[in-house]
């Protein structure tokens, strides 16, 4: 990928007093990427996002947005940022329209363009019907969407979302995910969440941080497609276990609930091919043959758990 780098973070550290929240993090984000930001509670996700959004100053390290250093020229850099904190920053006593208007002003959108910007943000976030209502009277899902509209109103190059789908119903979650994908096409998006499948469906890249350090930074394809070392198979008339174990590359066979079998193998396509061939030849009546990919959840737990085991 050679599209422009929109966020550059180098050796970012942040202390709260003596507590080290973030320690020497560095990563880059390009246009058109959606970055899933994962980590257990207290890993430093929110702190990192606050630093990138300019709400906190880093103790050391550099952050650049669209090639502009956030500390040298904060105004230029912040104009390219949209940030939705964990708690959407809403004025409950304003209506949605008033609120978005003032956000447009705050982001220095020229007066003639404001109306259009507000209308666009509203239609993007599905807020057309609630324009004249007070934010304080809206449901949580709608408030979340108003917060999102606020973050994208000035068409920022980078959108930072801190747990945007918390407390939403499944349909709203789908809509928000769809919106995030859409944003990801023209902008760069950083998304923090605890919902792992969300990362798998929405993000292009995963960044797992743990104890303030980066534990993993990889494209989602690689994480999910990691090495396949097991197959899930099911037969209508299963062969004896020994017949399977004799196949090339097979390391072990275990029986799963529901009569299916898990075949562990050394890797490569040879085992799957052999099972198919033998099933036809031996009349085992193959019902299912699925490569089992390590899920993101597995990767996440492995990383965090391994680290905990090392630490103790």
């Amino acid at each position: 990928m050679d599209s422009e780098v929109l966020i550059g973070v180098e050796h970012l550290s942040r202390y709260y007093g003596d507590t080290r929240a973030v320690n020497g993090i560095g990563f880059e984000l390009r246009r058109g990427e959606v970055l899933g930001f994962l980590g257990p509670n207290g890993a430093g996700k929110t702190t990192t996002m606050q630093v990138i959004s300019g709400n906190l100053a880093p103790t050391s390290g550099r952050v650049s947005v669209g090639g502009v250093d956030l500390l040298d020229k904060p105004k230029v850099a912040k104009a390219m940022l949209g940030y939705l904190p964990e708690q959407p920053p809403l004025y409950r006593e304003l209506t949605v329209d008033e609120y978005l208007q003032s956000c447009a002003r705050l982001n220095r959108i020229a007066p003639p363009l404001r109306r259009a910007a507000v209308a666009k943000a509203k239609s993007r976030c599905g807020l057309e019907s609630v324009g004249p209502r007070l934010i304080g009277n809206l449901s949580k899902g709608f408030r979340q969407r108003v917060g999102l509209a606020q973050a994208v109103i000035h068409g920022p190059a980078v959108v930072i979302l801190d747990e945007p789908t918390v407390g939403l119903d499944p349909i709203q979650i789908r809509e928000i995910r769809h919106l995030i994908r859409e944003l990801g096409q023209q902008h760069a998006v950083i998304l923090s969440t605890h919902i792992l499948p969300e990362v798998q469906t929405v993000c292009d890249r995963v960044l797992i941080i743990h104890r303030g350090e980066i534990a993993l930074d990889a494209p989602i394809g690689e994480v999910a497609a990691g090495d396949v070392h097991s197959l899930r198979v099911a037969f209508a008339s299963p062969p004896p276990g020994a017949a399977l174990e004799a196949l090339p590359g097979v390391v072990g066979v275990e029986t799963l609930a529901g009569g299916a079998l898990r075949v562990r193998h050394a890797g490569g396509p040879q085992t799957a091919l052999a099972i198919g061939r033998e099933a036809v030849a031996g009349g085992w009546d193959l019902l299912e043959l699925t490569p089992e990919r390590p899920s993101l959840e597995q990767v996440f737990i492995d990383l965090v758990y391994k680290d905990r085991a090392n630490a103790t």
Binding site: R14, Y16, Q50, S53, G54, N55, L56, A57, P74, K75, V76, K78, A79, L81, G82, Y83, P85, Q87, P89, L90, Y91, R92, E93, L94, C103, L106, N107, R108, Q150
Partner: protein
């Protein structure tokens, strides 16, 4: 600001109290009118009614200003909307100045109402406009100082009530410092007295414009605005 009932309530209450104080002065004037007519160079309408009325409204404002300024920053912090301002392309200075100017505009409305009341005297007499102008200037500067101090204290805390009590305490202290100065403490007493807001407000009510008083107010305002900006910045740095 005008969307909240607080603003209207405060305006109404202030106006009511100031009007009452104003009326008592008018009453006093009517009582002594006969004697005044007999005096040479008798004090005029402005001396007897306007100056004390403005002086009294200053005390009322002292009570009210903390209520108005308490929410400026602390409320933003409490409802987590501060991050909206911090991640927007505006500097800390702009945030503080914007808040301050908003507050001044509100105090301006209040000053306008008070002015209108004093001008109503024109219906039955003449006023010393020079003295009225300096009095209003003094009251305006005093309001501006209250607002600056209140804004600064509001940046210190997350609780609007704490900000209100703090602002009120400091304002009252600055007000009564003058009394301490009147004791027999000599040098130190004079210093305290000099710091008092009241000390610099009184001459303006009497129609005396001393540039030292004006500079005092300007410095007072600038100091607390600068402290407010520093405070917000420090928060970003230390968290």
């Amino acid at each position: 600001m005008f969307l909240s009932p607080l603003a209207w309530t405060v305006l109404a209450v202030v106006q009511f109290i100031v009007a009452y104080l104003f009326l008592t002065r008018v009453d006093l004037f009517l009582q002594v009118q006969g004697r005044l007519a007999a005096m040479d160079s008798a004090p005029g309408l402005t001396d007897i009614i306007v100056a004390p009325a403005l002086g009294n409204s200053a005390v009322v404002l002292l009570l009210v200003a903390p209520l108005l300024t308490m929410r400026l920053v602390s409320e933003e912090r409490r409802s987590r909307t501060l991050s909206l301002l911090l991640s927007a392309p505006v500097s800390m200075t702009e945030i503080i100045l914007g808040k301050y100017l908003g507050m001044l505009a509100f105090f301006g409305v209040m000053l306008l109402l008070i002015t209108a009341m004093t001008l109503s005297l024109l219906a039955g007499g003449t006023l010393d406009f020079g003295m009225l102008a300096t009095g209003l200037l003094g009251l305006g500067l005093l309001m501006a100082s209250f607002a600056a101090l209140g804004l600064f204290i509001s940046t210190l805390t997350e609780q609007p009530t704490v900000a209100a009590v703090g602002t009120f305490g400091v304002l009252l202290l600055l007000w009564v410092l003058d009394w301490a100065g009147q004791g027999s403490m000599g040098e130190t007493g004079a210093v305290f007295a000099y710091l008092s807001l009241l000390r610099h407000f009184q001459p303006l009510l009497q129609g005396v414009v001393d540039s030292r008083d004006l500079i005092y107010f300007v410095l007072f305002i600038a100091t607390f605005l600068a402290l407010g900006i520093r405070r917000l910045d420090a928060e970003r740095l230390q968290g």
